[in-house]
Structure formats: C-alpha cells, structure tokens
Amino acid sequence: MPPRESTLSLRDCRIRLLRGGSGAPLLYLHGEHDAGDWPEMLQRLADSHEIIAPDHPGFGGSDLPDWLDNTEDLVCFYLDFLDELDLRDVHLVGSSIGGWIAASLAARNATRLRSLTLLAAAGLYVDDTPPGDIFIWAPDELLQNLYHDQEIAAAAIAKSHAGEDIDLVLKNRFTAARLAWQPRLHDPDLHKWLHRIKLPTLILWGAEDRVLPPTYAAAYHQAIAGSRQIVLPACGHLPHRERPAETAAAITKFLAEAR
C-alpha cells in the first residue's frame, strides 16, 4: 500500500506529511537526502507500525517558515507537532540531520515517546574527527561519499544528472546549510544533556560512513546509558537506503523488545 499524502498547518507553516501502515506510531525524521521520499525501509516498517513521515519545515513539500533558524527550532516544532496530533508512545526514528532533531527532542521532552532510533545521526562533534565536508564536495562526489556501494551511488548520480528534482535538491540543500553549516552538523550544547534520555535507544550506523564516521556512533552510545549500538559492515551514511532490509529488520527487532 502506498502512503497517504496530506498537509498540516502548524505554527504558520504548511507541511507535507506521508502516512502509511498500521500499529504503534512511528515518527520518521528524514535527513537532507530523503525529504519528500518514502524509502523502502519505511515501507517495510509499515507492516507493523503506523508510519508518520513529515517533510521538515524548509524541506521537500513543506514551507520555509520565517522562524526557522536552527535545529532547535525544529525540535520545538516537532514537540508542538506531537501535541497537535496527540501522538502517544511514539517510536522516534531519525536519519542524519533528522537524527539530530530526534536526539535533541528526546533529551528535552520524552513524555510522548516510547523509543529512540538514531540512524547515522548528526548533532555531536568528536574531537579530531571532523565530519566529511558535505558542502564542499561536488554533487557527484557527495553521492559517492554518501554510499559505500558505488553501484547505488552511480544510479543516484544518473538520476541527479537527469535534473528533474533539481528544485527539491536545492531547497533541501539551502535549508540544510541554514541548520548545519555553522556549527558544522552539530549543536555544541547537545552532548551536555544526552544523559537525560532514558528511553530504549538504538544507534545504527554504517561502518563506512564518510560523513559521520562510526566514532560518532560510539559517542552517542557512550552518552545515552543503556543504548544499543549496531554498526553495519559495508554500509555508508544512509543505512536505510543502502541496506533497507537489514536496517528495517534491526529496527523491528529493537522495537518489539522496546514495547
């Protein structure tokens, strides 16, 4: 079943929302590279969960509101969003920048959450391991660096050369810069408060992540007591796209235990 598309207006911002599946609610917060998308991993998770996948304000099919300056603005927006939809016992899953929002949200207010899953989440800075410079890489180079499997990268490059989604790519890129250019892909205050997260937490990473190397997984793992860490071999920055079946299976297993 394809997801249902709808729009929601909240805090002077109209956002696009995909929903599909049934079961316990799972809020998916995307990264820069899958705004507006319904990746295979979500389709798999929809077998046992009700998936709610919004495009962040400023990304995909959502408006760019005047109030959006940084990731904390999105954290508070999603706290409002959870209230507005009156979602309870939510499994929160976030990838890259979306993982950063998810981690910060869980540290701030977890009352509506049941679990937290971070897929190669941004948000931290590990000394002596600066993240890959996603803003200086050329478009093809960026796609090559997002994936370990260069066949997947080549397909993504071919698609980008067709140029059909250029407006979307630029919109996502501009908003990503607003959130993550300075400080680069992190919030220097976040690490101080991750200990507040008491939820069952899964940290899932690609061993060959060239944006945020697995030392970043270790940093999250260390900061969140009781968290589980899975590092998938032969996988880059987007495990949900590069290894959707394994990623979905790992999350499903974790969520079953987190009930």
Partner: protein, 388 residues
Amino acid sequence: MQFFFFHLMPYADLDLETAAQYRSAWTVLPNSLYDPVKGADLYNRYLDELEYADTLGFDGICVNEHHQTAYGLMPAPNVLAGALSRRTSKAKIAVLGRALPLLNNPLTVAEEYAILDNITRGRLIAGFVRGIGAEYHASSVDPTESRDRFNEAHDMIVRAWTEPGPFAFAGKYYKLPYVNPWPRPYQKPHPPIWIPTQGSPETMVWASAPERRYPICITFSPGAVVKQNLGIYREYAEKSGYTATPGQLGWAMPIYVAETDEIARREAKPHLEVLFNNLLRMPPEMLLPPGHTSAAAYKKFIEQRRGVTTGVSTRLTLETMLDRDIAIVGSPATVRDKLAAYESETSFGNCLALMQFGTLPADKTRASMELFAAKVMPSFRTATVAAM
C-alpha cells in the same frame, strides 16, 4: 574619469604544478606552499607598487580582502592600508572592501576605517562587501545569512559614524549595549562608501537606492556584462528619481600597456592566464555556497553546466579574455580607445586598473604603470576638463 591602481597581492611564487593537485587555490590549498621569505619580498614589493601609483598621479590606490588563498595575500586589508596611509600623500586609499558578514563584531570595521580616515585626513574610501563564496568556507559563517548580516552590519556601522554614542544596538546577529567608537571618522558625515560587486540585482538595487547612492565597481566581468550591469544601476537610479553620476559607476579590470599591441599581449599572456586559471580557480560549490546566491541564480548556473564533464575545465586564454574584454591589453592608443569607447557607452567614471596580476614581475608592472600614467590617463583628464 578617475583612475585607481588596484592590487590583489597574489602569492606570485606559488608552485603551480603542486597547487594544481588541490581542489582550489582557496581554503584547501596547504599553507605549507607559502614561503615567508618570499612572501616578505612580495609584500614589500607590492606596497612599493601601490606607493609608486601615488607618485605617478593615480587618483587612488586599492587593497581588498580575501582569506586563505594564494590569489590574494590581504586577509586583513586595513593592515596594508595602514602601511600605505603614512607613505602616500595624495591618492585616496580605497579598501574594497571589508567583508562584513564574516565578522563577529563589525563595529571593529567602523573603528579601523575611522583610524585610517583620521591618519590620512580624509583620504579613505570605505568599501563594504559580502565576500565571495569561498570566504564562507574559510570562515565557516553560514552563507544563508550572508545578505542579512551584511545589511545589519552596514546599518550599525553607518549609525556608529553618524549618531552620537553611546547607543545600544540590538540586531538579529549583532547585539551591543554600547556603540560608541573612538575615534570618529575625519570626513563628514563619514568616508565615502563603495560597493564592489559582480552585479547581483539585490546589491544593485540596494546600492543605488536614493538614500545611499553608493558607487559600485563591477569586478572581473566581460565588457558586455559590465555594460549591462552599469546600465541596470543607472535604470534603478532613474526609477528612484535621480540620475547616476559617472562617479557612481566603476569597473575593475586587469590592464596591461606596452609599446605595441603585440608586445603587450606577448608579455601579459602567461601572467593573466595564471590569474584566471590557477589563482581564481575554484569549483562551484566553493564559489556559490547555498544561500550566498539565490536558488534561482544557482539553478541557472547548474543547468548551464550540466553535461560538462566534471574535472575537465576550459582554460581561459588571453585571446578569449581580449575578445570578451575581460582584460584590456595593448599599446597606449589601444587601451585609450577601449576605455574611451566604454566610457562613452556606459559613462563609467571610476577605472580600477589591476596592473599587477598573477605572476607579472615587478619591472613589467612598473613599465606598464608608467606608460598608462603617461600616455593613457592624461587624455581622459583633458576630456573631463573639456566636458566641464
């Protein structure tokens, strides 16, 4: 016509072969390629050239700001302007310009410029720029904030120069409980503000607004683009109810003069090609970071580029530069005619001549400056006098 001698202070001793292995001559080029012993010679030579321009009768001398690059060694242009301020006597000193959005506290620019304006008893021209895309990689300032930061910093500096202090300033980016710079500028109400630009519409509208009327200088663009952009500025001015003066319209371009066209081209060729191909070289991700340019302008750029294999770039030759009037090279008569033609077509009144470029050595730089001052500049003085 007013003539300015514009220097970029390139690292002319760059190992071009090694440098070519890097993404760009900006930001990522290792500074181990910089030799301070050679650099010391270059700084002193370049300052001598700027001082010589004062002696030769140029109306002004210009320095500018770029960071982390062999293209230009002036990350702190007011240090160089300070060195020039006590060694020159007539020429205006134009700092074109300070990159305001890169600063945590732009009030320092109000202070530095006021010092220079005091020391020179009013010879300062205060340039303000956003800085090109690469500066946002070098400084890590968010390029999506570039224009708003620029506007806010500009407003604060002008208020600091014109309103009695102390007063409090609370902007989105800059928050200062005390704005009260000592010294105040020498010129009234403040030094002339100039805006170097590549001609973005937002900048042109802003600079030409009747309450500002800031002179612009179009930098490093083909003649046709310069013509078009100066025309747009004049149109904006007319729409705002006034006529732009030649003094508001400037063009910064490389110029080289020798006895004959043939000699001039032969001598300038390798050095101009180094400037445009080796020193100015940077990929679009560095030139146009997200938000520094509008999404529409960025998209146009990407679409023009699609299909061009990455990694293979076209080398800009002297011949192309001359065809498109990116540079003006030739005998005094050729250079004179070219400038006169553009003057009559655009009524531009500020000629910012880049007379040292790339690897051009000191003797050739001076010979070209001397010919330009003796055989090109005077004919424009006469024309101006006759027109008055």
